[in-house]
């Protein structure tokens, strides 16, 4: 089973993607989605050599909902800054986020979350992969940003990725 589905979450995603693509859920589509969701990961597995270890499905769903909520907030915050804050009052800042996550997928997910949420963009990673460089649009207190990221997102991700 593991050989047939090297990345089960990918297969699941692809199954869903096919249904989304055909914009329906007819029986034929389900069968075809299953076939493709099996074949395509096999074709591309060479490019995903390691095995992603993920657990705790409720945590994943919780994380997704949290991020969506944060994105909505982020957009409002950024919109206000863009529209109403004079450039002179902006206090952009660079923040270094030390990370404990070791899985590349987890790090990427964290970095992506940071970018998608309020006023922060992940700009770089250290060559050893142990810290992220984050740019803040308006951060009078950069340390607070770092702490929030670590507690709000990284801690949750640690529970998801082993």
């Amino acid at each position: 089973m593991r050989r047939l589905y090297p990345h089960p979450y990918l297969s699941l995603t692809l199954f869903a993607v096919w249904l989304l693509l055909v914009n329906g859920y007819a029986l034929g589509s389900l069968v075809f989605a299953a076939i493709l969701a099996t074949i395509i990961p096999l074709l591309t597995s060479a490019y995903w050599p390691n095995r992603m270890e993920v657990r705790n499905l409720p945590a994943i769903i919780g994380y997704i909902l949290l991020v969506i909520w944060d994105i909505i907030v982020a957009n409002v915050v950024v919109a206000k800054i863009v529209l109403f804050k004079p450039n002179s009052q902006l206090q952009p800042a660079w923040v270094t986020i030390p990370i404990d996550l070791r899985s590349p997928e987890a790090i990427t997910l964290l970095a992506g979350t940071i970018t998608l949420t309020p006023g922060t963009v992940t700009s770089d990673i250290s060559a050893c992969g142990r810290s992220l460089l984050v740019h803040c649009l308006h951060a009078p207190d950069p340390d607070a940003v770092r702490d929030e990221i670590k507690t709000r997102y990284e801690a949750r991700l640690k529970r998801i990725f082993r």
């Binding site: 995603t13 993607v17 990961p41 591309t44 050599p49 390691n50 990427t108 990673i125 992969g129």
Partner: protein, 946 residues
């Protein structure tokens, strides 16, 4: 048939000497001689009949549609000339055998000689003026080879070129003249033309035709002012000079004038052009001959002079004069060929032809001396030799010919010509053989009989004809002259005419000639002191500047300035388009304008602004590329807006692959374009571009506003796509079915493009400047450290499978909804490119080797097979079929053979894009790009560690 054979023999035999040369020089000469003899014998067999007044004809259809046929006829004139050509040819072959050096390639010589001989015989036996032209030009070509035979001599090369140029020019003029003549008469057959004197001479085109034909004749016969090539042709080996430049080729012009005499002669135009030219030539050339120190040059100008004489006689337009011309043709051939051979003998044994160095050879070379004496006396017109007979007759004719109302002009000038002729003849004889022997000459001696035999034979003829003209020549003259004039001629030649004007003119000429020779030394000083045009300088002065002009013009015009080529092309296209438009009626269209909405207006503005920005900022190449991307985006969205989603899909995916390709290439070329063109030039280009833009914009506007006069064929496609093609996406059904053949060609184009790119890459990566440049490549920009950023690599692990799935989806739905194999191929290719960008070429390749060549080939083969498959059902290539498959519990779905075709498209596109990108990546690798072993560069415990 046998006439054709006489002509063909030398041509067919021309290969023999070349082949026989391996068996030795004698075999070579004998084979050439045998061929000539055979032809001569065959000619001789016809002689009795011809002399009885019959005309022998052979007709072979060649190009009857044009009136060009291999028709030959033999009459007296033909017999005379063919006899001369073959007879003297035989002697020359003999003479050349002993004349040519051991080192000379004799096989080549005889080959050329026989080719020439065949061409000459062809001229004189042709009964079709187009056929005659063929042979005429052949003589120019073969003589080019013969004159240039001694390839190591620059004079040979130049002389050959000059001869070819001048006679070639005449030949081309003659083509025009002959064609006109044929048009007037309605036939190119000589025997027909010769019957149409009135029609020809009454035609408006008579004079042009006459001039054009005479141009051919005059150049060939070296008539003034085209006489200059002949002396330079003397760089040829002496046998060639003797044969071509005295006996035969130069007489081709005379032959032609004689041949066409019945229809062209007799008009004032003819008289003034031909007689005057002949007269001037005779006098001028004779004078020049006197002052030439080179034996062959002297003979050459003498030849020109005599040709002038004959021309003049033909120009008189009377039967008597024409008869004399024929007679002199015979005589001149005998003594002049002999004299040329003598010159060769002298040259051969003394190694010089310079009259200033020669002298007193009579004792050392008695036989040669004897031959020369007779021949030279004949040339001088001393009785009783044959030269005397014809010259006397000439003077007689001249004496009663009035030129432009001046009775004395012709006699006086003719006498002067004769006088010079006497002088140079005696100079030739005297300054070579008489006087004191010259010590610096190294043991001169008579040659073997092989060399002197031929001239001796000719001298014998000189004497024979001189003593017994009626017995030895009159029959031939009669026959030939009858043929020339078209009326029966019976000559009566005798030595003594009484004290006629001609007699006194002759006396004056001989005495005057002696006096002139006595005065040669002072006159020569005067001659040398007088500035005079030198033919070669003039010729070079015309040809070389022309060649230089041609070179200059050609090089300047085609100097590789593509931008100018483009400017010219654009202007030409726009101008032609406008002109075409203005030349026809145009009813402006009445279609209503489609209303404009705000967003398209913004898109339009974006497009205009981007185009303007590209023009302004194109020097920043990356920016220009980004702007092209913007335009691509807008065009894609525009297609979607205008109800063409397939186009939008294709445009956008092609767009991104193009950008990637350009970025890959841009890495190796300068990132900016320097300021180079002047303001003026930019202005010019701006004007051209504006005109082109106005043109295309106006054209499409006019087209859009007018309805097509007929219903478009696309109505059929709309009506039948579903029912006959099995798909609701009409565009796709057109692509894979109605016009699947176009698509087949289109994927072949893509496949070829990839192959070309691959082959080009191979060439670049071979040892050479490009490879050197790559090996020492230094990036012109600072590199960032991170080559395979972690986030991209991880994201690609998701995006790649998703994108492939999108590709599959787009492929499968293509027949019914926007999409299809082409877009699907591009989508998958883009996905793979993303993988390449993420983890690098080498890492990706190492994990999954796909043979892109095989993909392309398989794609084209599958698409082709899908087409060919239809043959098995008895239908045409690319005939498709479709049906619905029911697999319970699934809903029925459609399968169409067009999908197999589309699969071929998919594979080809994928393979082509990937092969092209992989090829460029190889260039980057050669330029020192490093190969990674891990999927990303960040230190993380993932898969392979670096």
């Amino acid at each position: 048939m046998s006439l054709a054979l006489i002509v063909a023999l030398p041509f067919l035999g021309a290969f023999l000497p070349g082949l026989m040369i391996r068996s030795g020089r004698n075999a070579c000469a004998v084979s050439a001689g045998a061929i000539t003899s055979l032809a001569l014998v065959m000619l001789g067999l016809h002689a009795p009949a011809v002399l009885r007044g019959e005309v022998i004809q052979t007709r072979i259809d060649w190009l009857p549609q044009l009136g060009l046929n291999a028709n030959f006829f033999l009459d007296g004139l033909g017999l005379l000339f063919a006899g001369l050509i073959l007879g003297i040819g035989l002697l020359i072959i003999l003479y050349a055998r002993f004349y040519l050096d051991r080192r000379d390639p004799m096989g080549q010589f005889y080959t050329y000689l026989l080719l020439f001989q065949g061409a000459m015989v062809g001229i004189v036996l042709s009964d079709n003026i187009l056929l005659l032209l063929v042979f005429w030009e052949l003589t120019s070509l073969s003589s080019f080879l013969l004159i240039g035979y001694w390839k190591h001599l620059p004079e040979g090369r130049q002389g050959a070129r000059m001869a070819l140029t001048v006679t070639g020019m005449g030949g081309l003029a003659m083509i025009a003249g002959m064609l006109i003549l044929g048009q007037i008469v309605g036939s190119y057959d000589l025997s027909v033309i010769l019957q149409n004197k009135e029609a020809i001479q009454a035609s408006d085109w008579y004079l042009p035709a006459l001039i054009l034909i005479l141009l051919g004749a005059f150049t060939k016969s070296a008539q003034f002012p085209f006489h200059f090539w002949l002396p330079h042709a003397m760089a040829a080996p002496t046998p060639v000079s003797a044969y071509l430049h005295s006996a035969t080729m130069v007489k081709a012009g005379l032959f032609l004038m004689a041949r066409l005499w019945p229809v062209l002669a007799g008009t004032p135009e003819w008289f003034y052009i031909v007689a005057t030219t002949g007269l001037v030539t005779m006098v001028v050339a004779a004078k020049i001959a006197l002052f030439k120190d080179d034996l062959k040059a002297l003979l050459a100008f003498s030849t020109v002079s005599h040709l002038g004489l004959i021309t003049m006689l033909l120009g008189f337009g009377t039967q008597a004069a024409a008869t004399v011309a024929v007679f002199h043709i015979i005589n001149h051939a005998t003594f002049k060929a002999a004299l040329f051979m003598v010159a060769g003998i002298v040259d051969h044994s003394t190694h010089t032809r310079d009259l200033k160095l020669l002298g007193g050879l009579r004792r050392a070379m008695p036989i040669t001396f004897a031959i020369t004496t007779i021949a030279a006396l004949s040339m001088a017109g001393i009785p009783p030799l044959n030269g005397f007979l014809s010259k006397e007759l000439m003077l007689e004719e001249a004496s009663h010919t009035v030129w432009a109302g001046i009775p004395w002009l012709l006699p006086v000038l003719a006498t002067i010509g004769a006088l010079f002729s006497v002088a140079y003849s005696f100079r030739f004889l005297g300054h070579t053989f008489l006087g004191q022997p010259r010590s610096q000459l190294d043991h001169p001696h008579d040659p073997s009989v092989g060399l002197w035999g031929a001239p001796a034979f000719l001298t014998l003829l000189v004497v024979l004809i001189g003593l017994f003209p009626m017995l030895s020549a009159a029959w031939l003259i009669d026959a030939a002259a009858s043929a020339v004039t078209g009326e029966a001629v019976a000559v009566n030649i005798y030595h003594w005419h009484g004290f006629t004007a001609a007699f006194w003119m002759s006396v004056i000429a001989i005495l005057g000639g002696f006096v002139l020779l006595m005065l040669h030394a002072p006159l020569n000083r005067l001659w040398l002191a007088t500035p005079r045009p030198e033919a070669k300088r003039i010729f070079d002065g015309i040809v070389e500047p022309l060649a230089a002009l041609a070179r200059g013009l050609t090089q300047r015009l085609h100097d590789g300035a593509l931008t100018r080529y483009f400017a010219i092309a654009t202007v030409a296209i726009v101008a032609a388009g406008f002109a075409a438009f203005l030349g026809g009626a145009h009813s402006p269209g009445l279609r209503p304008e489609t209303p404009v909405e705000i967003v398209p207006l913004i898109g339009w503005f974006l497009l205009i602004a981007s185009a303007a920005a590209i023009v302004s900022f194109h020097r920043n190449r990356l920016l220009a590329l980004v702007l092209v991307g913007v335009i691509g985006l807008i065009v894609s969205v525009g297609f979607a807006y205008l109800a063409a989603p397939d186009l939008a899909l294709t445009q956008i995916s092609v767009e991104v692959v193009t950008v990637i390709l350009l970025l890959l290439a841009l890495n190796f070329v300068p990132k900016t374009t320097p300021f180079e063109s002047t303001r003026l030039r930019r202005g010019r280009d701006g004007v051209i571009a504006t005109l082109a833009g106005l043109g295309s914009g106006a054209l499409i506007y006019a087209l859009m506003m007018r309805d097509s006069a007929f219903p478009s064929i696309s109505g059929y496609h709309l009506a039948n796509a579903k029912t006959e093609g099995g798909g609701t996406n009409v565009v796709n059904v057109i692509l894979v079915d109605f016009r699947g053949y176009d698509t087949f060609g289109e994927i072949v184009v893509l496949g070829i493009a990839a192959l070309v790119i691959f082959a080009l890459t191979e060439a670049i990566l071979r040892a050479g400047p490009a490879n050197d440049r790559l090996l020492t490549w230094v990036q012109d920009q600072r590199d960032a450290g991170d080559r395979h950023p972690l986030m991209l690599v991880v994201a690609t692990r998701m995006v790649l499978p998703v994108a492939i799935m999108v590709g599959v989806y787009i492929f499968l739905r293509g027949h019914n909804e926007p999409g299809g194999g082409f877009i699907a191929g591009l989508v998958v290719a883009i996905a793979l490119v993303m993988q390449y960008m993420a983890s690098g070429f080498a890492w990706t390749e190492a994990r999954q080797r796909v043979d892109y060549h095989a993909l392309i080939a398989a794609g084209v083969l599958i698409a082709g097979a899908a087409g060919v498959g239809a043959w098995f059902t008895g239908t045409a290539f690319l005939t498709s079929d479709f049906g619905y498959v029911t697999l319970p519990p699934l809903a029925p779905f459609e399968l169409a053979t067009a999908m197999i075709f589309d699969a071929g498209v998919f594979l080809t596109v994928l393979g082509a894009v990937m092969l092209a990108l992989a090829s460029i990546s190889r260039i980057a690798l050669r330029a020192g790009e490093k190969v990674n072993t891990a999927p990303y560069d960040t230190d993380l415990p993932d898969g392979e560690v670096r």
